[in-house]
Structures are given as structure tokens and as C-alpha cells.
């Protein structure tokens, strides 16, 4: 009986091989596309140049922190994107947070899709802290977040909630706003 089971396991190996081979040739045909989160990591890095934070008492060389809240979709690419980069005298740093209570110093916060059901609670937890909130969670900007990555026909679009940014005393450059769809939650 034991022999039978071993033979049965071996019988499935060829089918796995077939699937892997089918997957193989497709790899070679990749064109000028980029992995989604590689591009999003570069967006996060670029946002630092388009946002003015309110002046605070901190050393000029304090790191500019990009935080990731929840399940990290970037793997190592976000760290690789900002490695060795500076904004003025400020080096970039990437920190990962499991919970909103854990967030200490942070300038840009990417909220992972794993947090989709708790966006309102997270934003409430942040209050009006001067943190640029960014996410690809459905309806992020209309739910009170600042920058929403919308993937449309395989391209990334931005939706920006200017009221949310203003409430946190952040100024987003008109160069960025021109390229984005503006969302307002005022009067809600």
C-alpha cells in the first residue's frame, strides 16, 4: 500500500513539469513593462519632492521616513529604491509598521491593501499628523486618504484628496496636482 502511494505521488510530477514549461517561454516575451510595486515605490520616493511638510523642531539631517503599514507588498524594492538617496540633507529611510499605534516618526505612509477594511480607523488614528498618506485601497481618497494609486488599463493614475492634505498642513505642489484627479471631501 505504501508503495502504491509513492507511485501515485510520482505520477503527479509530470503534470507539474508541464505547467512549469508552459510558464517558461512566456517569461522571455516581457516587454517594456515594470512590476506594479516597483513603479509604486518610485512614486513614493518622488512624492517627497512634491510635498512641503510643516516646519517642526528636528535636526536637519533627520531621516525622511517612508512607512509601510500592514502586509508589505514591496519586498526589497522600496528599500532598493531609496538606498543612498537624500532630500537635502535628509537621508531616506523605510520603516514597517504592524499597527497604527506603532507609527513614530514618519513622513510618507503607504497603507497596504491588507488594511482595506480598517482605512477609516487608521486615518482616525493618525488624526491630523503631518504624514502624507498613500494607498491603493479601493476608494482611498474618498475615504479620507490623501493620495490614491488607481490602476487603470495597466497604468497608474493618482487621485489626490486636497482637503485631507490641507487638514494635515501638507502642501502638495501644483506640478503633482496637475497630473492627478482631484477629490474633495469637504462638506461631508
Amino acid at each position: 500500500m505504501a508503495l502504491l502511494s509513492r507511485l501515485a505521488l510520482l505520477r503527479v510530477v509530470p503534470s507539474l513539469v508541464a505547467v512549469l514549461l508552459v510558464g517558461g517561454p512566456a517569461l522571455a516575451s516581457q516587454s517594456a513593462e515594470a512590476p506594479e510595486y516597483q513603479v509604486k515605490a518610485v512614486f513614493l520616493f518622488n512624492f517627497a519632492q512634491f510635498v512641503d511638510w510643516p516646519p517642526v523642531a528636528r535636526p536637519d539631517s533627520a531621516p525622511l521616513v517612508i512607512g509601510v503599514l500592514g502586509g508589505d507588498p514591496f519586498g526589497r524594492v522600496l528599500d532598493a529604491t531609496v538606498r543612498g538617496e537624500h532630500l537635502g540633507a535628509r537621508p531616506f529611510a523605510v520603516l514597517r509598521f504592524a499597527r497604527v499605534e506603532d507609527i513614530g516618526a514618519c513622513d510618507i505612509l503607504f497603507i497596504s491593501q491588507s488594511e482595506g477594511s480598517r482605512v477609516e480607523a487608521i486615518l482616525a488614528g493618525l488624526g491630523n499628523r503631518a504624514i502624507l498618506t498613500v494607498s491603493d485601497i479601493n476608494g482611498f481618497a474618498t475615504r479620507g486618504g490623501m493620495i490614491h494609486f488607481v490602476t487603470d488599463k495597466h497604468r497608474i493614475r493618482l487621485k489626490i484628496n486636497v482637503d485631507a492634505a490641507r487638514a494635515a498642513r501638507l502642501t502638495i505642489s501644483s506640478k503633482l496636482l496637475r497630473l492627478a484627479e482631484i477629490v474633495s471631501t469637504q462638506g461631508r
Partner: protein
């Protein structure tokens, strides 16, 4: 030889990744950083497609229990955490046993529910139900639990007749650092978890954990302790490795050992473990592939009743691709092999004592977007071959319609099967002839045809979900008289039909940013009747022990000074055919986040009564006692 096959499969998987390993993500980042925002916005991105279950979930009665929900509920075990889902029926039977089901047909051997933990199917081929005492999970490691009431057979597989519970654990990257938690009290006598997560180079993360608990016995109706105290220890590891930006490997494994007291014949011993390899890769912007392989071993001795050694080997491959602009096609194949050795006793026997059984499965689903993405239709079917009933087909059709900015209307029609398990064909009692009860050599699958209609609404801080259903069952398990009118012996057959209908309502309301209220109400009716020619007299009573209605209310309040206060109320109707009275119970948790790294909490469970019954006939009933425990959690 099994090891050889495993290493062969793994080496194939890894060699297939080699072309991608050569890519340098750092240089890719440099090239992208040289682009302007406009150029980035014009770049075509490769998205990792969502899981093929997306639509099946959109057009179904799904509830999600998040990590935060688990933490705030004060749950100390997986079954307790499942009480958060208002579309489940959850009843504690004794210290180790639970009766958990959706849409009725509940019992300790409830067999119409599919339960997945970290990708493993955990219902036993012995009776198609779950031994909850062998399914411990370190709750800190759970990312979320998806609970679907209603059929999910097309995508998830056999047994998903009335529901699916999918426990998804965190990526190792989401559990970095050291976590130590511990505590104890009156019913949960002591519990502790230690977990450490770290990185291996820049592309791999790992975690290692150990956890254990000791539980007090439940009570007899007289108030005396039933000697069912329970101890369990468990440990495991998980490794997540981003081989490239497009492919990922996960390796994980767990080991556990537990002991539960019995009134007679010595302690119950439960031990086992599992090891799994998962691999996924994004082939292109519109195509991805995932495969997983696992081995799961269970050892169980219930002195005086039976013993079991079970080995499960399971392989699953899924591919998903977009065809044109409207079609999103998912298909997959699976193979499952079990080797089951039962140690028979004077009380009962599984004959033959040892079996090897195989399952071959395949599924295909096409998700079609119409009306400018406002309507999605999913058509699919599962095809399965098992050693008991041969080829089986489980098709479904689902539709969801976005009716406005806040509402979604959905409907589904599904055929789902509960395929035969060892208990239906191979159980004999007592352990030697003459048998009072004998397995049915002709037992085939129980079949259900399920009609569902639901609506979901979300606007601002309010969300509401309503799901209604009608299910028609054919060939439900019956006990037929072998030589009527003699009451015994009995043979297991498919002699009954039945129907169930009802509604599940769930509401979520945030009066303020710091206060959240959630409520769920379920109304459920089940009728089971013998078919012409059947001599069954149970009318489903042996399988269906479910209250007609239940109401659950949960409040989560964030107070100043790092305090959080949570309460959960449940009002559960009577279980008529077991004479279990209706009951109302309350749990509460007060948490103080004393510092960023230190949390203290006090949890009260079943606070309203000194003890109460949730399940089982009076003669064998255990009662669940009020419990209080304290807990400390450090994170470094």
C-alpha cells in the same frame, strides 16, 4: 522515495525561476527613478492579479475577521475567534470539542464546511468534519479569516456545501522583531507565545514561533469538573523569499503535541505536524501561476474509542490569465492522497483499518465584465474524481451588479457536494460482529442545489449586508433498517432529502472615529424528511442541531490614555432536538497600551452565567463556565 519526489519537484520549481533571478531590481529602480511623473504614469505595469476567488467573494455572503478583530475580541483560540463572524454557528461542546458550521447541519462532526488554515485543507477524511483540537493557530500570526456562508465548491472544493472558513496567516515580513505574550486565569489557566521575525539578506524574511496553553476542565450539569483539562504545545517556522520581483517562495511548517483528560481509559493524545512549499510567479501583466505542495500528519489516540494515524499529501496548481478585455479566466488542478490507519477498539471499527485514497480535482472559472465593469458574471465548475463516488461535477454561476456608488446586488446558483468519507462507508459498531451499525457500501455524495440573493451597502461609516438563501438537499445521510421492522442493525445510506432557507444580516456602524458597533442576525430553518422506501426515523436529528436564530453585537471603543474597551454579546436560540435552552452571554476586554511596546489586558468570557450549556443532549452535556484571564504583550 517521497523525499526524492519532493526534492525533484522543488528543484524543478527553482530552476524555472532562474531566468528571473538574473534581473537586478536595483538597476530597474535606477532606470525608473530617472523618469518623470508623467512618464511613470504612462508606463504599463504588471499587476499581480488578485486571487481568482475575488468575484466568488464579491457575489457571496463573506465576512472577514481581521487581526484587529481577533485581538479586540479577547479570543484565545481559533474557535473563539470564529465567534466574531456572525454568519457562523459556533458552539463549545467541552474543553476541546466545538460544533461549528454555517447555515445549519451543525454537530461535532459537522461535514458541510470547508476549513483551510494557511492553505491546508484541515477537515479529516475520516468524517469530512474538523477535529478542532488539532487546529491550533498562534492568533498573533493570523492576517485575517475569511468566512463565507454558502457554497464555495467551484473554487475551493468538495465539502464547501454550506460554507468556507479560510484562515490566512501573515507574511513573515509582517511579524518582524520579537513578540512575547503570556497570561492566565480561571478557565484559560495559562497561555504563552514567543515569536521572532527577522530577515535573511535583502529578499527573504522568516519567523519562528512557539506557543502553548493549559485549559481548565468544563463542568458537568451537577457543577462538578468534567475531567477534560487540556494542554497543548506548538511551534513552527515560516520563510517568505522574494526570488525576484515577479516570483515568491514560501516555506512553512508546524509541529504540535496535546493531551486532553477523559473520565475513563486514560488521556486523549493528539500530535502532528505539517510542511508546505508555495510558489507563485507573475508571468506577464495578465497572467500568473501559483503552486503549492504540502504534507500533513496527524496522530490521535482516544483510549477506549479509537486511534488514528493519518498522512495527507496535497498538490495544487493554479493559473490565471486575462483573455481580451472582458474575460478573466482561472483554472487549476489538484491531487490529494491520504494514508489512514485506524486502531480499532471494542466500541467501534473502521473496516478496512488501513486505506489509501486519492482525489483528482480540476476547476475552471471565467469572470466576465460587462456594462463598463458595473456587472460581473462568473461561470465555473469543479470536476473531481474520488475513490468512493467517481467523477463529480460542481458548477456555479454568480453575478454581481454595482447599483450605485455604495450598493452591490448579487445572486448565485450553485451545485455543491459533500462527498463520501470513511465514516459513511467503513464505520462499524461495535468493533466486532454482530454489528448494530454498519457503513453503507452504496453511500454516494450528498447533493445540494443552492439559490442565493444578497445586497451590500456601504456609505461613510455605515455598512450593511443582507444574504438570503434557499438550499435543496438530495441524498442526505440516513440510517436504514437492514431487516425491517427490526430496529437493528442499521446501515448508512442516502435515504433523506431536505431543504433549508433563511437570511443573514450584518451591520457595521461607526458613530465616531473612536467607536465601532457591529451586529449580526441570522434566521434559519431546516427540514429533513425520509424519501419513499427509507426506514430512517431520525429526520436529520443526528446531523442537524442548529438554533433557529442568533443575534450578535460587538462594540469597540477607543478611550483616552491608550485604553480600549471591547464587549461582545451573543443571544443564541434553543437547539430543540437536544433540549439545549436558549442563552445570552457576554464577553469583555479592557486593554491598556501602557507603552509602545507593552500592552496589558483583562478578558472576561461568558460573564453572565456561572455556567451554561451550548450543545449536546442532557446526558452527555458539558457546561461552559465563566472565565477571566489577564494577558501581557511585549513587542521589541
Amino acid at each position: 522515495m517521497v523525499v526524492t519526489a519532493l526534492s525533484l519537484v522543488l528543484s524543478l520549481v527553482f530552476s524555472a525561476m532562474l531566468p528571473v533571478c538574473a534581473q537586478q531590481p536595483d538597476s530597474a529602480a535606477q532606470a525608473l527613478k530617472a523618469m518623470s511623473i508623467e512618464q511613470l504614469m504612462n508606463l504599463e505595469v504588471i499587476s499581480v492579479l488578485g486571487r481568482p476567488e475575488r468575484l466568488a467573494q464579491a457575489a457571496s455572503a463573506i465576512q472577514v475577521i481581521t487581526q484587529e478583530d481577533i485581538r479586540r475580541s479577547g479570543a484565545s483560540s481559533l474557535p473563539e475567534a470564529l465567534r466574531v463572524a456572525t454568519n457562523l454557528q459556533v458552539a463549545q461542546v467541552d474543553s476541546r470539542q466545538w460544533a461549528i458550521s454555517a447555515r445549519g447541519f451543525n454537530s461535532t462532526t459537522a461535514n458541510k464546511l470547508l476549513v483551510l488554515i494557511a492553505g491546508r485543507t484541515v477537515y479529516t477524511p475520516l468524517f469530512s468534519g474538523v477535529f478542532w483540537d488539532a487546529q491550533h493557530v498562534a492568533l498573533e500570526d493570523v492576517d485575517r479569516i475569511e468566512v463565507i456562508s454558502g457554497p464555495g465548491a467551484t473554487l475551493w472544493g468538495a465539502n464547501a456545501v454550506n460554507g468556507v472558513i479560510n484562515v490566512i496567516t501573515k507574511d513573515a515580513g509582517a511579524s518582524a522583531g520579537l513578540l512575547v505574550s503570556g497570561g492566565g486565569g480561571t478557565e484559560l489557566r495559562g497561555a504563552g507565545t514567543a515569536r521572532y521575525g527577522g530577515a535573511l539578506g535583502s529578499s527573504a524574511r522568516y519567523r519562528i514561533y512557539g506557543t502553548g496553553f493549559a485549559r481548565d476542565p468544563t463542568a458537568l450539569s451537577s457543577g462538578q469538573d468534567a475531567p477534560d483539562d487540556w494542554h497543548l504545545g506548538q511551534g513552527g517556522v515560516r520563510l517568505d523569499w522574494d526570488v525576484s520581483t515577479a516570483s515568491r517562495v514560501t516555506l512553512q511548517g508546524d509541529l504540535y503535541d496535546g493531551r486532553i483528560g477523559q473520565a475513563t481509559a486514560g488521556d486523549i493524545a493528539v500530535s502532528g505536524g505539517n510542511v508546505m512549499a508555495k510558489w507563485s510567479r507573475t508571468i506577464s501583466a495578465t497572467s500568473n501561476l501559483a503552486a503549492q505542495l504540502y504534507y500533513d500528519r496527524t496522530h490521535r489516540i482516544i483510549p477506549g474509542t479509537f486511534g488514528e494515524d493519518l498522512d495527507i499529501y496535497d498538490l495544487d496548481v493554479r493559473h490565471r490569465t486575462r483573455l481580451g478585455t472582458r474575460h478573466d479566466v482561472a483554472w487549476g488542478a489538484g491531487y490529494r492522497l491520504i494514508n489512514d490507519w485506524v486502531t480499532n477498539t471494542a466500541a467501534l471499527a473502521f473496516l478496512p483499518a488501513h486505506v489509501a485514497r486519492q482525489w483528482f480535482t480540476g476547476f475552471v472559472q471565467d469572470e466576465i465584465s460587462v456594462a463598463a465593469d458595473r456587472v460581473h458574471i462568473a461561470l465555473g465548475t469543479k470536476l473531481e474524481h474520488n475513490d468512493y463516488s467517481g467523477f463529480e461535477i460542481q458548477p456555479s454561476a454568480r453575478i454581481d451588479w454595482t447599483t450605485g456608488p455604495s450598493g452591490t446586488l448579487w445572486a448565485a446558483l450553485s451545485r455543491a457536494l459533500r462527498t463520501p468519507s470513511r465514516i459513511d462507508r467503513e464505520l462499524f459498531a461495535p468493533g466486532q460482529p454482530p454489528y448494530f451499525l454498519a457503513g453503507g457500501p452504496d453511500f454516494l455524495s450528498e447533493k445540494a442545489l443552492v439559490y442565493e440573493l444578497g445586497y451590500r451597502y456601504q456609505q461613510g461609516g455605515v455598512s450593511l449586508a443582507v444574504a438570503t438563501f434557499y438550499s435543496r438537499y438530495h441524498g442526505l445521510r440516513s440510517l436504514e433498517q437492514a431487516n425491517p421492522p427490526a430496529a437493528a442493525p442499521l446501515v448508512i445510506a442516502n435515504g433523506q432529502d431536505g431543504e433549508s432557507y433563511g437570511a443573514e444580516v450584518a451591520a457595521d456602524y461607526r458613530p465616531t472615529g473612536r467607536w465601532r458597533l457591529r451586529a449580526g442576525y441570522t434566521e434559519l430553518r431546516i427540514h429533513v424528511w425520509p424519501n419513499p422506501g427509507s426506514t430512517d426515523t431520525t429526520r436529520g436529528a443526528t446531523e442537524n442541531r442548529t438554533p433557529d436564530r442568533q443575534f450578535l453585537l460587538r462594540s469597540s471603543l477607543d478611550l483616552p490614555a491608550g485604553l480600549r474597551f471591547d464587549t461582545g454579546l451573543r443571544a443564541i436560540g434553543a437547539i430543540a432536538n437536544q433540549q439545549v435552552p436558549a442563552y445570552t452571554e457576554l464577553s469583555a476586554k479592557l486593554t491598556w497600551q501602557a507603552a509602545a511596546h507593552l500592552g496589558l489586558s483583562v478578558v472576561g468570557q461568558n460573564l453572565l452565567h456561572r455556567r451554561h450549556a451550548e450543545f449536546a443532549a442532557p446526558a452527555t452535556r458539558r457546561e461552559i463556565e465563566r472565565g477571566v484571564y489577564g494577558r501581557v504583550e511585549w513587542r521589541f
